[in-house]
């Protein structure tokens, strides 16, 4: 009855997991990557993430996400290696600079944390269509309004980006300085931000009325078009992952986790 292109059955076993499960796993991984201090936390997460990605056949697609964190990693490595406060175990004296082993160690750990986090987000994004995630959250009680806000925001970003570049182009033609002095560029902020925002706000009235005209504020629950299967097994996974992450982080913070 409901056509297939609407049902969009998932491809692959990891993909077919309930979106809520994948979300909890992503949050657990993020918590462990950042919360468990030392080398083990991030390394374990990276291992899990890479294994999951391979099993779900999205391994290759992780690369762009990994590349995207390079600027941040470069910053972390440079600043922490060369400017770690209070460190005295110098690696070598390079002119005025004095990189330290402690600094390098901290830098690498921070890098691993960031990498683990980014890859965990990547696996989640690659295996969970936004529609499915939102439908699942709605079913669990987020409600139609929360789902609408998130879904519409995501959908609006490309259009807003186009409008922004149209405005920047037309402002440049009128002399907006994007390369000149700092003061000139600050002055350029209002002519860029204001038209974009005012244009977007003028649509709010029409959009509101269009929503009301489609019975958006009707009471009760919306009908779900695509059933998202869940199972006791998955519920168990969610509880274990969630509680496990909390316990590990707490143990690490309390200093009683005996891992490097």
């Amino acid at each position: 009855m409901v056509p297939d292109f609407v049902l969009r059955p998932p491809t692959g076993r990891y993909h077919a997991l309930n979106p809520g499960t994948k979300l909890v796993l992503a949050f657990a991984e993020a918590a462990i990557a950042f919360g468990v201090r030392g080398w083990t936390g991030p390394l374990v997460v990276i291992a899990i993430v890479v294994a999951t990605a391979t099993a779900a056949r999205v391994g290759r697609s992780l690369v762009p996400f990994a590349l995207a964190v390079i600027p941040l990693v470069a910053s972390i490595l440079l600043i922490n290696t060369f400017l770690f406060p209070g460190a005295t175990d110098v690696i070598a004296h390079i002119g005025p600079l004095a990189p330290t082993w402690t600094g390098l160690g901290a830098a690498l750990q921070a890098t691993l944390r960031v990498a683990a986090f980014a890859l965990s987000v990547a696996v989640f994004a690659l295996t969970t269509p936004t529609d499915d995630l939102l439908a699942d959250l709605e079913r669990r009680g987020l409600g139609r309004r929360g789902v609408f806000v998130i879904g519409a925001a995501i959908g609006m970003i490309p259009r807003m980006a186009e409008r922004a570049s149209e405005i920047t182009d037309s402002q440049r033609a009128r002399g907006l300085d994007t390369e000149g002095s700092r003061w000139r560029r600050i002055r350029g902020v209002v002519p860029l931000a204001a038209p974009m925002i005012i244009g977007a706000l003028s649509e709010v009235e029409e959009r509101t009325m269009a929503l009301e005209a489609r019975a958006f504020s009707a009471p009760g629950r919306r009908t779900i078009l695509r059933p998202l299967p869940d199972s006791t097994g998955q519920r168990a996974i969610r509880w274990v992952a969630g509680l496990g992450a909390i316990v590990l982080v707490a143990a690490s913070v309390a200093g009683i986790l005996p891992v490097p």
Binding site: M1, V2, P3, F5, V6, D131, R144, V147, F148, G151, A152, G155, M156, R159, E203, E205, E206, R207, T208, M209, A210, L211, E212, A213, R214, A215, F216, S217, A218, P219, G220, R221, R222, T223, L225
Partner: protein, 294 residues
């Protein structure tokens, strides 16, 4: 009687001026009533009041009586009004929810909001698509349609609630000629084949001439003229009231003024799909500028 307005007066929230100053208007099932008038006459406000959105969704003060399928709009909830009256605005982009990846799901947005079961939803969606003959667009991304197609999808998504009244607020005014043709044809067919009552507000009196049974002229928040289409549109006083007569009427007058008897019965003007001439202030009887379709 699907829509019954008696002495309807309305002022927007935060203002005191009554944009509608006492409107009496009836739209029955199966009839198409068009409303024309100069800018700032209150035509868009009339649409909002007829659909119940004013005052339900935007506040403001409504006095007088507005009955939608027998109930006062002021006492309805927004979703109840939506099931009695569908409304289509000018800008198709703002009417699409922006949360769906296929046209099918976009049209299903309304029925889903009501919590209908899946069988009913499928029926409503496919019915709406069939009515407007857009089943071929079902898999497309709503944000990647042409203006005319998007407008039809927006129309389908309100028709999916199966309202008994359809209000159209200048549905083709932001479309290019191709889109105008597309939507104009779909509306003509819909009006001819469907029993839904239609209230059409338009500047392009060509469309009005093709599908409307009656025309009301709204000036300064009041209806100053109301009668059968041919009669109202041929009335010379129309131009004084700030309304362009439709192309057929303009041609007839131009031909008559040029001294020839005008038997235009043989001319299929609808097929010409004429646009308003470039210079609306051209006096009737003056030679048309070259390059204008005539």
């Amino acid at each position: 009687m699907t829509l019954r307005m008696r002495d309807a007066r309305y002022a927007y929230a935060g203002t005191s001026r009554q944009v509608l100053a006492g409107v009496d208007l009836d739209v029955e099932a199966g009839r198409v009533v068009a409303v024309v008038g100069p800018n700032e006459a209150g035509k868009s406000t009339l649409c909002l009041v007829a659909a119940g959105l004013a005052p339900i969704a935007i506040g403001g003060r409504l006095e007088g009586s507005v009955l939608l399928a027998g109930d006062e709009t002021a006492g309805l909830a927004a979703h109840q009004a939506a099931q009695r009256c569908g409304i289509l605005f000018q800008n198709s982009a703002t009417q699409l929810s922006g949360t769906t990846s296929t046209v099918w799901e976009e049209i299903a947005f309304g029925p889903r909001n009501l919590g209908l079961d899946i069988g009913a939803i499928v029926e409503h969606v496919e019915g709406a698509m069939a009515t407007l003959d857009i089943a071929g667009l079902a898999e497309r991304d709503p944000q990647r349609l042409s203006g005319g197609q998007a407008q039809l999808v927006a129309l389908a998504s309100v028709l999916a609630l199966q309202p008994s009244l359809l209000v159209l607020d200048e549905p083709t005014s932001q479309l290019d000629p191709a889109g105008t043709r597309l939507v104009g044809k779909a509306l003509s067919r819909f009006a001819a084949e469907n029993g839904t009552a239609i209230l059409l507000v338009e500047h392009k009196t060509g469309l009005v001439a093709r599908i409307a049974d009656e025309v009301a002229v709204l000036v300064g928040g009041r209806i100053v003229q109301h009668g059968p289409t041919a009669e109202v549109l041929a009335n010379p006083a129309l131009a004084e009231q700030g309304v362009d007569p439709p192309p057929a009427v303009r041609i007839e007058r131009a031909v008559a003024a040029a001294g020839r008897s005008g038997d235009l019965a043989g001319l299929d003007l609808a097929a010409l799909e004429m646009e308003p001439i470039a210079n609306p202030s051209l006096p009737i009887g003056a030679p048309l500028p070259t390059g204008t379709p005539a």
